[in-house]
């Protein structure tokens, strides 16, 4: 545990802002640069920062590795799921137009959903990569 009060308070102020920023990047990607991929990475960066200051155990208690792995699968499944949904709705794979009565609405909905899938998978995988590498370090030290 780090005794540096400035770092700890600073991080506590900073991390919610980073998470908010990640959400902004995620859902504003249609209008400005950004999207699921960048948001996922920023989200993961917030957790990495948390780890650096509060330690790996604290983070893994909050976000257990097993959950992260399942999340990474869920993101990919969401993406493929939207594609399959479009198939059942009468279109081709990943044809978002058919998801709603209005093609524009369908496209927008599809894009938001798959971007969400991208964001979840990327964020979860980056966290999982970080866990794997950081966990090895700890094992070696023991």
């Amino acid at each position: 545990m780090s005794p540096h009060i400035v770092l700890r308070v600073g991080a506590k102020v900073l991390i919610p802002v980073i998470l908010l920023f990640a959400l902004y990047i995620q859902f504003h990607g249609e209008y400005s640069p950004g999207g699921g991929f960048q948001a996922g990475i920023i989200f993961a960066a917030a957790l990495v920062l948390y780890t650096l200051i509060f330690g790996l155990d604290a983070v893994q208690r909050a976000v257990p590795p097993a959950a992260v792995h399942l999340l990474s699968a869920c993101g990919a499944l969401l993406y493929i799921g939207v594609g399959v949904w479009a198939m059942f709705a009468g279109g081709n794979f990943l044809e978002y137009k058919v998801l709603a009565a209005d093609p524009h609405l369908g496209e927008t909905m599809g894009i938001i959903l798959i971007e969400l899938g991208v964001g979840i998978t990327v964020g979860a995988v980056v966290i999982s990569l970080f866990y794997s590498f950081a966990g090895r370090t700890r094992e070696q030290e023991n």
Binding site: A73, A76, L77, G83, M87, N92, L94, E95, Y96
Partner: protein, 492 residues
């Protein structure tokens, strides 16, 4: 659902791979699920081949965006044939995998292992089915990343370094491919293969297109282990887990060859590749050297798995030789060898996997007299070996026969002699194994072993019998191969 078959071909394994992460606690359930998916994929591939058998071309526009704006899946006889090989091998290898993987991989990693296997499988299928140049790159990387992990799961620590070397070589290969695709895009403004084929003739006299051709040729050659760019292959195949060796040896290099064929014949066109650029004069010496030298190296190997890995490099040489004739007959021989070699090599590696399962290794010294303890396994190995050599009534003979015809047809009679001579090299290395396994005494201190379990023997024998069956009943492979060759010669 029939119109969605092309998408399902790739989406099925892609969908199953993340789902396996939910089955980490139940390894046998993970295995059963993967097997079901592999067989479903095989069924889809068979249906696709049936649909395009008469020469039809299925085009499937992802997202409903017509090509070249969207990404297109494009199935003709060539790709359906390759799809059938990949899906067929992965369907047969799955029943075999259960025992073999249980012995070689830690139980808490089995679900991840199968997930990586399905990703590799889906990646290869995706390469074979897609009609978009950049999509080939993306799916190359999916299958590559999954295979690096699969190879590194070998129990020997040398598996790690061989996987790392494969990663470096493979990435250089795909980056070259990326450069080539970029150059082509720059000159034509499109990424769709069929569209490229249409627009390339306008600009084909530019240096940029020639450079693009060179980069794609070298990049893909790295992936397909064309001599002398094969250095990553022997180690990777030797140290990988048995099931991975079976799968990759039968599929990974084959798909890379398919990509090479697509670019040489369909996209650039035979006239450009072999007429304006002297690709036949580049490929033929490489193919001949690639048959000769690895075969000789194989004779001096003491590890049978490694011996067969070198033999795989030599077999790639045969396929490239067929391509370098640039005739329909030569291409038929190549396509045929894609199929026959996949079956033969998979049978051989499966037999070796059964030996690894029982005695833990495939060094010749450890295999002395093994045929007495494991008669069925070794008998399957001998059948596979005969097919590898090209003895009549085996699948291997059919390809050698067509290669011979193609060589004579093009007037290269010295190559016909060379083919016979190179088969003798195969006789020598296979005989070395047979001699040790059948005619040496089992060492007194060797552990007593029994025959491999039925779950390993059945798939091995299925493939061994298949390599005899397709040596006698040739309608399916020869029919598909000659149709595929005609389509390739005809351009897109």
């Amino acid at each position: 659902m029939i119109e969605h078959l092309p998408a399902l071909q790739v989406v099925l394994p892609l969908l199953a791979a993340p789902l396996l992460l939910f089955l980490v606690r139940w390894p046998s359930l993970a295995w059963a699920f993967t097997t079901a998916i592999a067989w479903a994929t095989f069924l889809v591939a068979a249906l696709l081949l049936e649909q395009v058998w008469g020469g039809a071309v299925i085009s499937y526009a992802h997202g409903g965006w017509e090509p070249p704006w969207g990404i297109e899946y494009r199935v003709d006889t060539v790709s359906a044939f390759v799809l059938l090989i990949i899906a067929g091998i992965s369907a047969i290898v799955m029943p075999y995998a259960r025992d073999s993987v249980e012995r070689e991989v830690a139980p808490n990693r089995i679900a991840w292992f199968y997930s990586a296997f399905l990703l590799a499988n889906a990646g290869l299928l995706g390469i074979a089915i897609t009609g978009d140049a950049f999509n080939i790159f993306v799916f190359f990387e999916i299958s590559a990343i999954a295979s690096y992990a699969l190879i590194a799961m070998g129990r020997d620590r040398r598996a790690l370094l061989s996987s790392f070397n494969y990663l470096i070589m493979g990435t250089i290969g795909t980056t070259f491919l990326l450069i080539g695709i970029g150059f082509m895009y720059m000159m034509t403004g499109t990424l769709n293969l069929a569209d490229l084929a249409e627009r390339l003739p306008e600009v084909r006299d530019t240096t940029t297109i020639r450079a693009a051709f060179a980069f794609i040729a070298v990049g893909v050659s790295l992936k397909l282990a064309l001599f002398p760019l094969h250095l990553w292959l022997p180690n990777a195949y030797t140290y990988a887990p048995s099931m991975v060796t079976v799968f990759l040896s039968a599929t990974a290099t084959k798909v890379a060859i398919y990509v090479l064929l697509r670019f040489f014949y369909s996209v650039f066109g035979a006239e450009f590749s072999f007429g304006e650029l002297p690709m036949d004069h580049v490929l033929m010496p490489l193919a001949l050297l690639g048959i000769l030298l690895p075969s000789i190296v194989a004779i001096f190997q003491d590890d049978v798995k490694r011996m067969l890995a070198y033999s795989s490099v030599a077999q790639v040489g045969y396929i490239i030789l067929g391509i370098s004739f640039a005739t329909t007959l030569g291409l038929t021989a190549s396509m045929l060898h894609l199929f026959n070699h996949a079956i033969t090599k998979a049978a051989l590696f499966m037999a070796l996997g059964a030996i690894v399962y029982q005695i833990g290794g495939t060094q010749l010294t450890r295999m002395a007299g093994i045929a007495r303890d494991m008669p069925w396994t070794m008998a399957a190995f001998v059948i596979g070996g005969l097919s590898l050599i090209g003895v009549p009534l085996t699948a291997g003979f059919i390809t050698k026969w067509y290669l011979l015809l193609a060589a004579l047809d093009s007037g290269y009679w010295p190559i016909a002699v060379f083919l016979l001579a190179s088969s003798l090299l195969a006789v020598i290395y296979i005989w070395r194994v047979v001699e040790v396994a059948y005619f040496r005494e089992r060492p007194a201190d060797a552990p007593v072993v029994s025959e491999a379990p039925l779950a390993l023997l059945l798939p091995t024998w299925t493939l061994a019998l298949a390599s005899i069956l397709f040596g006698i009943y040739t309608a399916l492979p020869v029919g598909a191969a000659s149709r595929a060759a005609t389509i390739l010669m005809g351009g897109y």
